[in-house]
């Protein structure tokens, strides 16, 4: 139990009053920037990098870790209350969370996301402390072929958000593919769908698309129906926090979310979005309250994805601390902070900078505790936001979405895109097309394409890589079962219920 000794030492580093203060500052700042769409943890840490010239390494990493974890908490707040995701990892949270908020269970949605984040964040951080060397071996076994198969599996999740009509859902998904393809193609360096505009070369930011389609589209829809009838928001129904039934429905999704999020986060190209999609799909499949999904909002659909994104945030730290591999924008910037101290992050980091690394891991545990203490009492305040009369509330959302989008890269083109997609979101809402598949298509489409082409480049055009690699084959098999399994099950069930005398063609 050498690890426990290291960890105890880490806590002695993190528990100094000054470092606790940095942790508090970081988590508060992180929560705030998580709330604003546009200002993400990567940008905030980049802008705070000069602080490394003035304070000790332990202090600045504790600050950065607090910001990183805090942003994951804060991002869900606006997703749930305003349907305006602050981070790409909380887009899925908006699906059920906002429905819950509108039917008076916003407090419960916020509580399950805060507590779920705490539970999953703690599990994930324990994973970083105890399992890192094992997990990183598994993560490195993932090559382009395996990633592509993982994407195929993730595409199955689309069926969970397609809505009532598959044709409409798939139309939305393909629209998402097209938007996702805008920009310079990574594999060949050629621009696609940019129409000669330099600003489009880097593509459309997925946050802008989500905010445009969800928040702006929703606002326009509400405005158009102002005199046609009332779509009432219920500020609060029942208890502010979770009821015991809601606790009962939340704890399993938290654990499953953590189990999905941590390993995928640890993969170099895993990211935080895919585990949230997978978790959402699984919770919808397993829930006993399927009728609540997409109508009044199902708490499982918030608890699972929220746990998954926090666990994946912890997972990202595994390759960073064990191998010096930056696998997300935030991790890359944290690594450049190491360099300003003259520390070269790499496979030897843990042995040469033990104090720093274990202090950082200990401060992650502390950050998690501070965050849940910080966020639970705030729920009462946040929920009151919904008592603002609809016209003012939606006007506020519009201002908030606009300011946040402009904050991403101070580009007026981004605002044009925001409002164009807002108008598209309005039309989709009006004609009953689901908007979530657009976002899923935007994220998964380009990822799947890139990994597929990489795999084919490496194999020199040989398709067998997808089924000759055992991991890839396993994932494809899972995807196949996910796709046809339910139909076979339904058919078997149907046959069994009706009994053998009612075989088709017999009646």
């Amino acid at each position: 139990m050498e690890t426990l000794g290291h960890l105890a030492h880490g806590f002695s580093v993190a528990f100094t009053p000054v470092n606790l203060l940095w942790c508090l500052l970081g988590t508060t700042l992180g929560t705030a920037i998580g709330v604003l769409p546009g200002l993400g943890p990567a940008l905030t840490i980049a802008l705070l990098l000069p602080i490394t010239y003035q304070v000790a390494p332990e202090a600045s990493f504790i600050l950065f870790a607090g910001i990183y974890y805090g942003a994951m908490y804060g991002g869900s707040t606006t997703s749930i209350l305003l349907n305006t995701p602050g981070e790409s990892a909380t887009i899925v949270t908006a699906l059920e969370g906002n429905k819950m908020a509108r039917s008076g269970r916003g407090g419960a949605a916020l509580a399950t996301s805060a507590i779920g984040s705490f539970v999953a964040g703690t599990i994930g951080t324990m994973g970083v402390a105890f399992l890192a060397p094992v997990v990183v071996k598994f993560a490195l076994a993932f090559g382009p072929a395996e990633y592509f198969s993982l994407m195929v599996l993730a595409f199955i999740t689309v069926s969970a958000v397609l809505g009532s009509s598959s044709v409409r859902g798939l139309t939305s998904l393909f629209a998402g593919f097209v938007i996702g393809m805008i920009g310079v193609d990574l594999q060949t360096g050629q621009p696609r769908f940019t129409f000669g505009m330099t600003e489009l070369l880097d593509g459309v930011d997925v946050i802008i698309a989500a905010v445009g389609l969800f928040a702006v589209g929703e606002t326009l829809y509400m405005a158009s129906r102002r005199y046609a009838g009332k779509d009432e928001i219920v500020p609060l129904r029942g208890s502010l926090y979770m009821t015991s039934a809601e606790w009962g429905r939340s704890w399993k999704p938290w654990l499953r979310g953590a189990a999905i999020g941590f390993p995928i986060g640890a993969m170099p190209a895993g990211g935080a979005e895919i585990p949230t999609f997978l978790s959402y799909a699984i919770e919808k499949k397993l829930s006993n309250h399927k009728e609540e999904f997409g109508t009044v909002g199902a708490i499982e659909g918030v608890a699972g994805p929220e746990a998954a994104n926090n666990a994946s945030a912890a997972g990202v730290l595994v390759p960073m601390l064990t191998l010096g591999l930056p696998t997300s924008a935030t991790a890359a910037i944290m690594l450049s902070a190491f360099q300003s101290y003259g520390i070269n992050p790499g496979p030897l980091l843990l042995t040469t900078q033990g104090d720093l690394v274990w202090g950082l891991i200990a401060s992650l545990f502390i950050a998690n505790v501070i965050l849940v203490i910080l966020n639970l009492p705030l729920i009462g305040l946040w929920v009151r936001l919904l008592k603002i009369p609809a016209p003012q509330l939606y006007a506020g959302i519009l201002v908030f979405a606009t300011v946040g989008t402009y904050g991403i890269s101070q580009s007026p083109i981004d605002l044009v895109i925001l409002y164009l997609l807002g108008a598209a979101g309005f039309l989709m809402r009006r004609f009953d097309f689901p908007t979530a598949p657009v976002i899923i298509g935007m994220i998964l489409g380009p990822l799947a394409e890139t990994q597929f082409r990489r795999a084919m480049t490496i194999s020199n055009g040989d398709w067998s890589v997808f089924y000759k690699h055992p991991l890839s084959l396993t994932l494809l098999t899972l995807a196949f079962i996910g796709l046809v399994g339910p139909h076979i099950w339904a058919y078997v069930e149907h046959r069994r219920r009706r009994g053998p005398e009612h075989v088709p063609g017999d009646a």
């Binding site: 905030t44 090559g143 591999l325 696998t327 506020g396 904050g407 890269s409 580009s411």
Partner: protein, 325 residues
């Protein structure tokens, strides 16, 4: 209206967080000038770090009283460049950070503006590149790699940064020098250094090309084997030949430098060159460069302009061969 005030407060706190970086530059030196640094990339990358390190060193050496850094990111700098040319025209106290990546991006994106339209001040640093293979690889030397490449380039997938970037350019130059057609190469571009590195560590590709700093720790730990570096001469503490020593006549630095806007007076230009020269000679700058694996390759004024023109021609030729220009 507690709720609304709370809401506004958190928004204000978030924007304050965003700009805190700027407020950390206190003005303390009397009489020294205030400068503006334009970074045509998002915060966090190589140009941004160059700009922020310059700010830090210039202030601690009391050469300037403070600086303001503006980031306009996107498309390898080709989004920021037109803005710097048009809106910063004639501002004698301003500098833009740029480098080889922008030269490549201008050509590949067929951008309307280019670096002949700005005023060259100084080339500051360069990162030489490294050719590495996984520890288990059968390639022991650069010659082994070249032999395999000559035998069948499609069987030697090489990982590196984005298509048309410095890593891809170096791979193209190596192939061209040893007589392998650039169009047959199997280059696997990755968006970030971390992803390319994990493809190497996971044995997914045959070799990798990237900045030496990206690989140095993995080489030290024995996870990767260094075959050659693209520097002009042997480097202290690096146990590998240069490409030239290994029989491949290629030298490449992923250079970074600074430019003033168009339309600045000769006096302003001379003053800016003097300022950057005194920064480059300081101990503070030397320490920062060492920490970040940056090689100092100072070149100023007209010599720098000549270098940029030559490098542009070389990059354009190789990008044409690779089918990207």
């Amino acid at each position: 209206m507690l709720n609304r005030r709370r809401f506004l407060m958190s928004t204000a706190a978030a924007s304050a967080a965003g700009f805190a970086g700027l407020h950390l530059s206190p003005a303390f030196a009397e009489g020294a000038p205030q400068i503006q640094i334009f970074v045509p990339a998002a915060p966090g990358g190589g140009w941004d770090q160059t700009g922020r390190t310059m700010d830090q060193v210039l202030r601690s050496e009391k050469l300037i009283s403070g600086s303001q850094i503006t980031n306009v990111g996107g498309a390898g700098g080709t989004v920021g460049l037109p803005q710097f040319i048009n809106q910063w025209n004639g501002k004698g106290n301003s500098l833009m950070v740029a480098g080889m990546v922008m030269v490549g991006a201008i050509i590949a994106n067929k951008a309307a503006n280019n670096l002949t339209q700005v005023t060259p001040i100084a080339r500051l640093t360069g990162e030489f590149e490294a050719l590495v293979v996984p520890a288990e690889s059968p390639f022991k030397t650069a010659a082994d790699f070249v032999a395999a490449l000559k035998a069948d380039p499609t069987k030697v997938p090489v990982a590196g940064g984005s298509a048309g970037g410095s890593d891809h350019i170096l791979f193209g130059l190596i192939a061209k020098t040893v007589g392998v057609p650039a169009t047959n190469l199997s280059y696997v571009p990755f968006a970030g250094g971390g992803e390319a590195l994990s493809a190497l560590l996971g044995n997914q590709v045959a070799a990798g090309i990237s900045g030496f700093g990206e690989f140095s720790e993995q080489i030290k730990a024995g996870a990767l084997r260094l075959l050659a570096i693209s520097a002009d001469k042997r480097q202290d503490g690096i146990d590998a030949p240069t490409l030239k020593e290994a029989g491949i006549d290629v030298e490449l630095f992923n250079w970074r430098g600074v430019f003033a806007p168009p339309g600045v007076s000769d006096a302003d230009k001379a003053a800016m060159i003097a300022l950057v020269e005194s920064m480059a000679k300081s101990d503070g700058w030397a320490t920062e460069c060492k920490n970040r694996n940056w090689t100092q390759i100072l070149l100023t004024g007209d010599d720098y302009a000549k270098f940029v023109a030559e490098d542009t021609a070389r990059i354009e030729a190789i990008l044409k061969d690779l089918g990207l220009a």
